[in-house]
Every structure is written in C-alpha cells, then in structure tokens.
C-alpha cells in the first residue's frame, strides 16, 4: 500500500504489517489481523503522514526536530524544559485542515454519532521493547466524543516529546528525522472479560500449549498487574484444558461515567468465578492457533470478550523472550541406529 504515504488516515482493512512505517506496529498488526479475517474491533490509524502534516504546521512557526536533535543526552534540565515546551505546542497547534477533516470523517464512519473509542499510540520503532522504554505506549479507553478524541490524539503525538522519550533517543543518537508516531482509533469493546493469551508457554517456552490469562472487565487490570488473573493452560493441538488456576479477582475496571475507566470492587461470588467458560477458552485457542499460523510464529495476544459474548483481539505481537533463547541445539539428535535411543531410558547415561 505505497499510497498510504500520502494519506493521513488508513483503515484496518487496508493495511498490514508491511505498512509499519506509516501505521506503526500496533496499527499494522491490527490491520494484518483484520485482513486475515480475525475478529478485531473496527478502526483506523492516523498515519505518520498525518503526523508529518501536523509537524510541518508546527515547524512553520518554530523548529521542532532541530531543537531536539541539538540536545545533549545528559543535560536533563534542558531536555525537561524543551519537553514541556513541545508538549504544550502539540496541545495548542491547530490541526491542518486536511488532517482534521480526514480524522473527523473516519470517526463519523466508525459509528453513529459519538462512538466510544480507544485511542492508542502505535510506535514505528522496530522493537516493542524500545517503545516501552521510550514511553510510547499510551492507551486511552472510553474516549467519548470528537473533541476528546482529538485531545487524546495530540497526547499520543506529544508522548514523542516526553522526557523519557527524548532522553532515550538522544542517548542512542537516533536521528530525529525518522521520529514519527501513528495513532490507532478503534471502537471500544465493552468487555465482560479480557486478558492476554500466549501461544507459547511464557514459563517453559513450550510451543504445544496455549496459556490464557483473564479477569473481569477491561484487560487493563490484567496488563497492569492490578488484578491476579485466572489462568488456564490448554493443549494447542489437543484442546485439553490441563491447568485451571481460578484466582481471587478482587476488582475490575469498567467504563467511568463521562469517559475513561474506573475500578470497582467485586462481590465475593464473582471474585472466584472463572471469567471464561470452556467454550470461550476453546474458541480463544482456535483464534490463537489461526493467528499463529498466519504469522508463522508464536504470538502474545491481547483479547476481550464483549458483553454479548463476542471474542475480539486487541493486539498480537510475536513472542520474543523464548524466540531469543531458542537454542540451535536439538532436544536429541537422531541416531544412525534408532534403537540406541532407548538407552536414554535403560542405559543409566543420558
């Protein structure tokens, strides 16, 4: 999709992983999933081109990139004041008309009137870990109207100029010219339950099991570690549910009145009730397998189940921890005489 370069907005259905430079990692992944037929809440990406148009407008008054590029990595005081100035300017600078119009139209197409959306930054850096180091992982839930959406969009853009982000780039001497940010805007899932799914065991690296963790309400409580989630281990191939750790889920996060989220304490009974039934677990496993097959490698996935029971994926990224550790050494090399293998059991020598 080379023509994305020229468009401030791109729909999930039109993009894929290859479009990462324009739509960022998160946007590319959601697009890829959408194209693969995996259920994802519909949405669009404000592309890096949209960001560039905005930046151009800012640079028109005073330099931005040059200002950052000149900073010394250990001069934290100056970084702090530049950061403050730039974030203020990101909040104040009027949006270029083309950008404003494209985003407004897309938002209007997403739903009828004021659609509740999630606004999420979608960094273009190769490695998700870099993005979290650099503080580029903003997610705003239950954003309720156009103006608020624009405010959150600016906040995501502004995170490029946070103190951590600038310091990180300066420390690693990253060229400022490539720094851009895409932003995902997608329909909000009114999650009954949500959580994460690993298509490779996070504890053992086993590729034959799928681990699912989940809690009541929004997935933010699981991701942030505020609630100990229920945990299941399911045979990827067999579908056997071998482990069921049902935890005491003391609270859940839900929509706050007027937007945003709030935490509510749960009653005794719901706390210890599993947040997924077996049918849902197996449906998730099926989706996990499909996603893994699509990418050809194990995935870490964020999922939610709506109040009406629909399963939706919010994120999928390749598993990295075990992939790095994968030894080239085989479990056990073949033997010229296959019978020699039985000495593992009988021989007294491993």
């Amino acid at each position: 999709m080379p023509d994305l370069i020229d468009r401030p907005v791109a729909w999930f259905a039109d993009i894929g992983l290859a479009d990462r430079p324009a739509v960022g990692g998160k946007g590319g992944s959601l697009g890829e999933l959408t194209q693969a037929g995996i259920p994802v809440p519909p949405g669009f990406v404000v592309t890096t081109h949209g960001f560039e148009l905005f930046l151009e407008a800012m640079e028109h008054h005073r330099p931005v990139r040059g200002l950052v590029a000149d900073l010394a990595p250990d001069d934290l005081d100056t970084i702090r004041s530049v950061s403050q100035e730039l974030r203020h300017r990101v909040e104040q600078e009027p949006l270029p008309a083309t950008v404003r119009k494209a985003v407004e139209e897309a938002y209007a197409r997403l739903g009828s009137g004021d659609e509740a959306v999630a606004v999420r930054s979608s960094a273009t850096t190769e490695d998700a870990d870099d993005a979290s180091f650099a503080g580029l992982q903003d997610t705003f839930l239950w954003v309720m109207n156009t103006e608020e959406m624009f405010a959150r969009l600016r906040e995501c853009w502004g995170s490029l100029y946070s103190v951590e982000s600038i310091a990180y780039r300066r420390k690693h001497s990253l060229p400022e010219d490539n720094v851009a940010m895409a932003v995902v805007v997608q329909q909000m899932v009114d999650a009954r339950s949500a959580g994460v799914m690993f298509t490779r065991s996070p504890t053992s690296g086993d590729k034959s099991v799928i681990t699912i963790e989940g809690a009541w309400g929004l997935g933010s409580s699981v991701v942030s570690g505020e609630v100990t989630p229920d945990r299941w281990v399911i045979g990827k191939i067999t579908g056997d549910i071998a482990t069921r750790d049902i935890s005491d889920k003391h609270a859940m996060q839900i929509q706050a009145e007027g937007g945003g989220i709030r935490e509510v304490e749960l009653e005794a009974k719901q706390r210890t009730t599993p947040c997924l039934n077996d049918e849902e677990l197996l449906a998730l496993r099926d989706i996990g397998r499909r996603v893994e097959r699509h990418y050809g490698k194990p995935q870490d996935i964020e999922w939610a189940i709506s109040q009406s029971g629909q399963i939706l994926l919010l994120q999928s990224r390749p598993e990295t921890v075990w992939a790095m550790r994968d030894a080239t050494k085989p479990v056990k090399p073949p033997e010229s005489n296959p019978l020699k293998h039985v000495m593992t059991i009988f021989g007294g020598t491993q």
Binding site: V233, G235, K236, I237, A242, P338, L339, V342, I345
Partner: protein, 612 residues
C-alpha cells in the same frame, strides 16, 4: 516428625494387626520381612494389589516377580536394574527394586543389553507373532487339563489299557501342571513388557523435553494402538446388539432382564433365537475371557463366569442400533486422528534433527505398542481366569470331601498348603481311610477370613524404610510410576485436604455428578445415566457401561493403565490411581471430577445448598 521427614516407618516397626498373627505366620518364609530389610526401601504395591491378599492369590506376586526379575536381570540384562523383591505384611505386598549402581557393572550390562534387547526390537513383529502362538498353546494346554475327580472305583479302562497310574495321581499331576503353566505364563508376560514400555517411555521422555507442558494423555494418544485386543470384548457386545436387531430378537433385552430367562427364551424362540445364541458363543470364545478386575484376585470373575457385565450393556447398544447410530469403533477416523496428532506435534519441533529423532521414536513406539496393549488379554485375563477356575475345581473337590465348606474357601490356602491338602486327599483315597484335612482346614479358613477382614480395615504406610536420594530404576518408574516427587508427596500427607483426592489424569474434562461407589460387578445395575462411577479398578471390561456414566474414578491404575486408554477413547473424564476413592467417597455424594488435572473433589452439603 519434621526432623525425620525423609524416612517412612521401618519394616521392623510395623505391627502385625492383632488377631492376624497366625495368618501372617503361614505365609512363605521368603515373603516375611527380616531385620536386614530395614536398610532398604520398600513401597506398597497398591497398583496391582490394592486389597488384602488371600493366601492363595499371593501366588501371582511370586510368579510375576520370578519372571520379571529373570528377564530384567538375566535375559535382557537391563543395565541399571535387576528384579523386584517382595514381602508381605498385614495382607499387603511391599516391593523393593534392586538397582545396579557400580559403573563397571552397568557398562558390562549395557553391552549385553544391546546385544539382546536390540535383537528383540529388530525382530519384534516376528517374535510377537510367535509369542501369540506360544500363549495360545499354553492356553490350550490349560484348557485340556481335565477336571480333578476321584471316582470310587478306578475306571475299567485303566485295567484294559494297562495304564498303570491310578486316578489320585492325576490330582497332583493336574495341580502341578496348572501351577507350572501359571508361572510359565508370567515369563511370557515379561518377555516383551519392559522393552515395550521402555521404547514407549523413550518417546515419552523426548516429548516431555521438547514440549515441557505436554500432557501424558496427549502422548498416550499419539502412541495408542488401534487393533488392540482390549477393545475386542466391548466390540463383541456391540456386534451382538446389532445381530439382535438384525435377527429381530432385540425386544428380549431390557434393563431388568434375568439373563438365564433371556437365554431360555431365545432357545425356545426358533431359528433366529438360536442363531443369536450361537453368535453369543462365538463372542464368548475367546473374547468374554476378560475379567472385571486386573486379573490379580481370584474373585475378579470373567464375563464368561458372569454375564451381567456384557448383558448390562446390551439394551443401551440395541437402543442406539435401532436409532440408526453407528456404535462400532470408527477405525478409519481413529487412525486419522492419531496420525493428525502425530503430525501436528511434529510440526511444532524447531529443527530437522529433532524431527528426525521424533520420527525414529514414534516409529519404534508404534511397533512395540500392540504388545503393551494386547498382552493383558492373553495373560491377566484369559489365562488367569482358566487358572483360578481350575483352582476352584480343586476347591469344589476338597469341599466335597469336607476340607472346608465352600469351593471358594480354597483361596485361603497358600499354594503349598493346597498341594498338601491335595496329597492328604490322595493318601486317604489310596489308603481307604479318612483324610486328616477336614479336622485341620476349617478352623484355619475361619482364621484367615477374619484376617482378611481385619487387614481390610487396617491402613498401611505407602512405603517403608529409608527414602533413596533418586529413584532412577527404570522398572519401578515404568511399571509403578514412582518418582522421588511422588514419595515426597506421600510423606506430606499431614496437610492433605480432606475433600480432595489426587490421582493420575487419565482423560480430561470436568464433570460434577452423583458418585456411585461400585464394589463389584454385581452392583453395576445400580448405575444410572449420568452417574460417576467410583470403583477400585476399572479396566477395559468395564467399557460397555462407559456409555452410561459421565465420569470414572478408580483407586488404582496409572495414566497408561488400560482403563485410562479406554477412557480416552470414549472421551470419558477419568481420574485413576487415587488410592482411596472407594473408601473416602460415599455412595450418592456429589463429586467433581477434573480429569485434566487428576483431581476429585467431594462437594460438601453447604456448597450444594449454595449452588441450588
């Protein structure tokens, strides 16, 4: 106890249950604990001998261990282990392995092992075909043994043929041949068993390393054989159900039928009835020679001895045939599913080398597994039934001559004592005077009956003696699933949750329902649709009632036990080897079976009310 956590009670500290001293004393000297045994580690073989042993039934332990050890120690020469020693106290069989630890000895044995065991692996199919012929010949020999009788006068034929041997000699001859056959059968049993398990475990071990969280069940499913004899009895019941419908005699089979009456009715019914009866005979010989236990107790009778098990299943199967359902095992689909499973796991392997190893291992496992699954039908079922029934015939003869009241009482004698009673009877018949046995045995039988009752009420430690640092004896790991981790959990019983029982995860799935504690086949009529079967041993012969129950729990059995194999095929959630389900779960209680985790939970009253 905290400072002494790594030791079980010493054998010398185990008190004989009061009132059973004489019964204990009567056991062979080589099964009695000695002071030196305190230095070794022993564990209670509850997997094979979950109930107190009758004196005669202990012949199974000695015949089996004579053969197991012979093959491990001296025929195949397993490098790191020899045989199994056994001791009996309070009616329970304790066993101890004999590991080889000297590196030089291991190296020497490795060489011999490869020369011998590899020959078996290389020629497995031919040797196994030969094995079946041997077993069938052995079975035919046992079937040919006449019923022991003592006529008042020697038949005139003895005179006319110049036979020169009188009838009383036949008693000893039959008895010794039968006993010899039983010992021989156990040799055949162990000819392939350890090698078969070993090849399977090699694949198992590889899977556990390549897929650390893979379930035992998934591995079992990949290896499971398709033509195994263990499925045959149930398939025969299905065949009879279909034939009943085809012949139009199906209306005679219902839940409350009296089997004798049904057989009588069919015989009177004309051609179709008799046709069905002849089909029944085809099924009975040999496939109903399966017993309802694991073959180690004389009272685990066979389908042929008691038709209630197969007949209990007939109405259900007939119902399904009438509804047009396919009840026969879908072989093609099962094979396809197994092959798919094998292929799917293979695809997850990281590199070509592992894939090559995987192919080598699964190939070997598939070759050896028919024996692992199939031998039990010939050994523990068919032959063992013949054996115990032959002993029963001696029981009837001795009871007839006043040695004890009933034929079943014979099983309270050791096999030595039984031989002495037989010789006593031979002498009396010979001399024309009265045997001495009737004055001696009734009191002893009484004493032993009481001992069995007392032993049954007595709980025994799961193990005795010092815990070894490692359990790497492949025989013990293979046959009993005993590992260092098991032992630690046995030592940990203090904190046991009274409402929870742990066993082997045999087949996954969670079911809540009413527990039906079934102690013998006589009680299977009590099972209602959806009940959870709780029993001591379930084996393939219980398969016909799997259509009726929602889950199964047993006291004994490992994840590779036959019960587990069949449960998986029926997709019936099952937990086996809980040790104490039949004693801790009460009939009618609500329980939850988690077959994936091997957990059984007794749901108490409060929880029931809360859920209501």
């Amino acid at each position: 106890m905290a400072g002494d956590a790594k030791s079980f009670p010493l054998p010398s500290s185990v008190r004989k249950v009061p009132g059973t001293e004489r019964a204990q004393e009567a056991l062979p000297y080589y099964t009695q604990f000695t002071p030196e045994d305190d230095d070794r580690f022993w564990f209670y073989n509850s997997m094979h001998f979950p109930e107190p042993m009758h004196h005669f039934d202990l012949v199974t332990a000695e015949a089996a261990y004579c053969a197991l050890g012979a093959f491990n120690t001296r025929v195949h020469v397993l490098p790191t282990t020899k045989g199994i020693d056994h001791r009996v106290i309070n009616g329970r069989v304790y066993i101890g392995g004999v590991p080889v630890t000297d590196p030089n000895e291991i190296a020497m044995r490795q060489e011999k092992f490869q020369a011998r065991a590899f020959y078996y692996y290389e020629n497995w199919e031919e040797l196994y075909a030969q094995w079946k012929d041997k077993m069938k010949a052995l079975i035919a020999d046992a079937q040919a043994l006449p019923r022991p009788v003592l006529p008042e006068w020697e038949p005139i034929k003895t005179t006319h043929t110049g036979k020169g041997v009188a009838s009383n000699h036949a008693l000893l001859d039959i008895y010794r041949k039968q006993l010899e056959g039983y010992f021989r059968m156990w040799h055949h049993h162990f000819e392939f068993l350890l090698l078969g398990y070993g090849a399977y475990l090699t694949f198992f071990d590889f899977c556990k390393r390549a897929f650390p969280e893979i379930s035992d069940q998934a591995i079992s499913r990949m290896v499971a054989g398709m033509e195994a004899e263990i499925f045959k009895p149930d398939e025969e019941v299905k065949r009879l159900a279909r034939r009943a419908v085809e012949l139009g005699v199906d209306q005679h089979f219902h839940d409350d039928m009296v089997i004798e009456d049904v057989l009588g009715t069919l015989d009177q019914l004309g051609e179709n009835g008799r046709e069905w009866l002849s089909e029944l005979e085809v099924s009975r010989n040999p496939w109903f020679n399966v017993n309802v236990g694991d073959g180690f107790y004389h009272y685990h009778r066979s389908w042929n001895d008691d038709l209630s098990m197969p007949f209990a299943a007939l109405p259900g199967y007939i119902e399904k045939v009438r509804a047009g359902e396919t009840i026969e095992r879908p072989m093609d689909r099962l094979v396809e599913e197994r092959d798919q499973l094998v292929a799917d796991y293979r695809e997850l392997l990281d590199n070509d080398e592992d894939k090559a190893t995987y192919d080598q291992l699964i190939h070997l496992a598939h070759r050896v597994f028919p024996y692992v699954e199939g031998h039990k039908f010939y050994c523990e079922h068919w032959y063992t039934n013949l054996f115990f029934n032959k002993i029963r015939e001696f029981g009837a003869l001795l009871a007839e001559h006043g040695f004890f009241e009933q034929e079943e009482d014979v099983f309270h004698l050791t096999h030595y004592e039984l031989e002495s009673a037989i010789i006593d009877l031979m002498l009396a018949w010979s001399s024309g005077s009265e045997p001495l046995g009737p004055k001696r045995w009734p009191a002893i039988v009484q004493d032993r009956k009481q001992a069995i009752d007392l032993w049954a009420r007595n709980t025994v430690p799961p193990a005795l003696g010092m815990v070894p640092d490692v359990i790497d004896d492949p025989a013990i790991v293979m046959l009993w699933g005993i590992t260092r981790d098991n032992l630690d959990s046995w030592l940990d019983t203090g904190e046991q949750n009274q409402k929870e029982l742990k066993g082997f995860a045999a087949c996954s799935g969670i079911v809540e329902g009413t527990a039906r504690v079934v102690r013998s086949v006589k009680e299977i009529g009590r099972l209602e649709q959806g009940d959870i079967l709780v029993c001591q041993v379930t084996n393939p012969t219980w398969a016909p009632i799997f259509q009726k129950i929602s889950a199964a729990v047993s006291d004994i059995g490992g994840s590779m036990s036959h019960m587990a194999i069949v449960a998986r095929e029926y997709d019936l959630p099952a937990v086996v080897g809980t040790g104490s389900a039949t004693s801790r779960i009460q009939d009618g209680q609500r329980i939850r079976v988690d077959g994936g985790r091997g957990l059984v939970t007794i749901l108490d009253e409060e929880e029931l009310l809360e859920n209501a």
